[in-house]
Symmetry: C2
Subunit: 339 residues, 2 copies
């Protein structure tokens, strides 16, 4: 049976975690299954994660600069640390390249170093090896946190309010512009959307603040709300209802999504590569969270729904009709957005 | 300028380390440039390393089983932890696959888990993504050690004795058998040599013991003695003289290398993927090291030369003639042995 018949990447991860993954013990708090693993060393929680970007799966060389491949490969990993409420500390990277121009590798590393240092992480190791057909950027990111303040996917409780930071759909609009017009023209048409796609900004300070405020559950939006919210619900053994009209969509993304023939809010729900934080908080925690983010000059958060106890994740349209949150739009084999 | 014109992988690593790598500070003991990076957390040294195996660069699918790809990808990383005198703790892996049979992935993970658990490490995280053309196994390995007992490449002193564990050249003989005869016939001709190549055994217990015995410098032999000893010498600002007649070569490897038309000892010096430990120790430490390895039932070590202060690495033949240790046999782009 092939992966595609078996149920795709999620089914595969479940198989691997159950059959071969370590089990939690006194020093291993969280094994495979969250945004990152958490281990205890002395009194600290060490957060570790890895994510790999492969040419023609996660990026196409004609619509991204070398600097941005480097930036993005680190940023998506730091986003996992942010989702756990952690502080990035150290970055390692294995790169697979063919006999490229040294300038391309140099530029990639500049992006790697800049993304790492912008979020306080240091580049401490790497491996460079020959790859005869595709560029490969495989990053390992370490972070730290106080053990009692790590955020997990699994903490959502029935009655919690579901929130997201920032706006959704910007990265996907950027990708559509890039696919349609190529790098140069896409940048001219909408620099911000292209930047959202090529140079995502992980919500590190937001994650750390949320961890201090005692929110219940969090994850980063890498595959899109429609795909990621069901994961958060599954981890917590809960369900959720989200309201299409509440999804935060920027004006420019709203306009471009319409031009592409999509319903903007649905387009944003399906999203992908937003790298915003999805989290749940008790109802009386909503205002404190919003004020604290504002007082600290951070990305604001919006209420988009509530956690329920029935295990279903539902989307409520403007007319009040409900439908299951559609998670099937991206299958294994992954497409260009599956980071 | 392309990588091949720039001076290959080593020149590239030097450029990256100097331009973009972190510098040592109070919590970062060793950045890019050793077998692994070393950071301090509380009172512990955390050792972190990453190495990636790419299909058609590091392995060919027709001459390795899925189980062994998994095993080897972890073993070569654990070998880096062993080279630092560390104890493996946690393993993460990013895998790139096309729409394979689930059985292949399952078998790979069995190899991954077995290699990890045989050396006390736990599989705690991973990322599985689509790779349209090559299998990719990118491993991130953590280990731990007492900070004052970490072994580095850089500690060699003039007058030290150069030693290696085990025998050299076995893996290379295995590779030649595989390339010449294919998997099934190669196994029938010499199971042990094939195993040395496909299922290397990192010298974890040997590394830990050597760290306790206060040896001066160590690294693992991944690229072959001829390529790796100059790196150890460069790191320590020293030179070395090694004696061809002292190179430990097993009877079977000696016989097969001759049959392939090679001088067995030279073949073993050029080696590659031995995953034995290369180390230097003060002359009065040689006997204690050999006895301790024997008393603990570990892989024995052999004296192969001495450290000098002139910066050259020389090979002395049986007739007393000397020549520079030849390091250029493997260029970027890497070949199948460049792990």
């Amino acid at each position: 049976m092939r992966v595609s018949e078996f149920g795709g990447e999620q089914a595969l991860i479940r198989l691997i975690a159950e059959k071969y993954g370590a089990h939690p013990d006194s020093s291993l708090v969280k094994p495979i299954g969250d945004d990152a693993a958490v281990i205890l060393v002395g009194g600290d929680a060490i957060i570790v994660t890895c994510d790999m970007l492969i040419e023609n799966t996660h990026f196409r060389r004609d619509i991204i600069e070398a600097y941005e491949i480097g930036w993005k490969s680190v940023a998506v990993n730091i986003s996992d640390i942010a989702a756990m409420g952690g502080t990035p500390t150290y970055t390692l990277i294995s790169i697979g390249i063919d006999d490229q121009e040294v300038a391309l590798i140099d530029e990639s590393y500049r992006g790697i170093r800049d993304a790492a240092s912008q979020f306080g992480s240091k580049l401490i190791g790497g491996d460079t090896c020959f790859s005869d057909s595709r560029l490969i950027f495989s990053v390992f990111q370490l972070g730290t946190a106080e053990p009692e303040r790590v955020l997990y996917r699994s903490g959502a409780r029935s009655g919690d309010v579901v929130m997201v930071t920032g706006t959704l759909g910007d990265s996907r609009v950027g990708l559509e512009l890039l696919l349609k017009h190529g790098l140069t023209e896409a940048r001219m048409r909408n620099e911000e959307a292209v930047k959202a796609h090529l140079r995502p900004v992980p919500r590190v300070n937001e994650g750390r603040l949320l961890a201090k405020l005692g929110i219940h559950a969090a994850m980063d939006l890498s595959d899109g709300l429609a795909s990621d919210l069901p994961k958060l619900c599954e981890a917590g053994g809960v369900g959720a209802v989200v309201y299409l009209d509440s999804i935060p969509v920027g004006d420019s993304t709203r306009k471009l999504a319409s031009e592409f023939g999509h319903d903007p809010a649905r387009f944003a729900v399906e999203g992908g590569e937003d790298y915003e934080l999805l989290f749940t908080v008790a109802p009386d925690g909503v205002e404190p969270v919003k004020s604290a983010l504002m007082d600290n000059g951070l990305t604001p958060a919006t209420e988009i729904g509530v956690i329920t106890d029935d295990g279903k994740t539902l989307l409520v349209s403007s007319d009040g009709s409900t439908e299951p949150l559609f998670v099937g739009w991206r299958h294994f084999p992954g497409d260009l957005m599956d980071a």
